[in-house]
Symmetry: C2
Subunit: 194 residues, 2 copies
């Protein structure tokens, strides 16, 4: 077969520069609220610094509260429709831990905390990520009200995760999380794929 | 706030080296069968060269058959649970076209061809990718029979895509596609996240 050099160089996926000055990687995030506030902080900084959509997330060790990775919507910044906040957090966590799953028989358990209930893609990502717990801030309806499509997520989708041993918590600091969606609306941020 | 340098360097996502010698980027893939055979070829090479799971995909210009990007399961190779064949193809296509969506009012339409029906994550990715058509080879049942979990995908999930203007074709060269799943089983390839 005739062949040619691939026209696509390797992708580089990185954090926006502000992560270096905003995130405290050393402290333990011991309560659900502290963890959710970090996810919301990621969403808010992303909006205020014009680096992406109003969605943030973080992966923690479930017991210790050690921060493993943060994520923030980077779809437009990096021209990549998969880089929602949750996906970015999961990819970065797996890169840091050098493993394609966060689930193991002998290591710590992990959780994904997201400032908004996941879209269909990110709900699937949650399943493959290996986390044991998913904590959500704002609701699907909040995102839809803003004009974002959340895709085919049904009650059965969450039941599927629960059946695979992933506990799901909804509405953690929902008002604080939703305030960032409202901020994005007020700033007339782009509703891509709307 | 105290801060520390991010402990996570940028991710690099690249093709396995064999893509350089296997893929013909110059020819037009004019029929559905030719396009699916390329997706299946990606799955087969990935298995035979031990670079990942038995799933391949490709993005084409719908009308012309111009190849934009290929994808192959790279979950284990790159320690990243999001790098299914479809996601890899979509990310690479968006990188090449320098846009976070393949849908535009004035440009060509695109399609995603995958050697196996998408999991829940990749079905969501299909929605955000901007493709107008999704063509599947092997079926969900074929992957499940092998031990792979496909996640919460329901008939309503496909209906959701169709309602958003994405045509879906199932069972294109299913036997040829499924033969690679059988090959993977015979070689006792790892069933991660099983």
């Amino acid at each position: 077969m005739n062949s040619a050099i691939s026209p696509i160089p390797p992708l580089a996926i990185d954090y926006p520069a502000w992560v270096q000055t905003v995130v405290d990687w050393e402290r333990a995030y011991t309560t659900d609220e502290e963890r959710m506030r970090l996810a919301i902080r990621m969403s808010r900084e992303n909006v205020e610094r014009d680096t992406g959509g109003p969605f943030g997330a973080a992966v923690f060790e479930l017991e210790s509260g050690r921060l493993v990775a943060v994520g923030m919507n980077s779809v437009v910044r990096l021209n990549n429709c998969m880089l929602h906040g949750e996906g970015m957090a999961v990819m970065m966590a797996q890169s840091r831990l050098d493993c394609f799953t966060l689930r193991s028989d002998d290591g710590p358990a992990y959780e994904l905390v997201t400032s908004c209930e996941p879209c269909a893609m990110c709900l699937g990502t949650t399943l493959w990520s290996g986390v044991r717990r998913l904590v959500c801030g704002a609701g699907r309806d909040d995102a839809v009200k803003l004009g974002f499509d959340e895709g085919p997520v049904f009650p059965e989708s969450y039941a599927y995760l629960e059946a695979r041993g992933i506990r799901v918590v909804h509405g953690m600091l929902r008002d604080e999380a939703n305030a960032v969606l409202e901020l994005y609306r007020a700033r007339q941020g782009p509703i891509y794929n709307g």
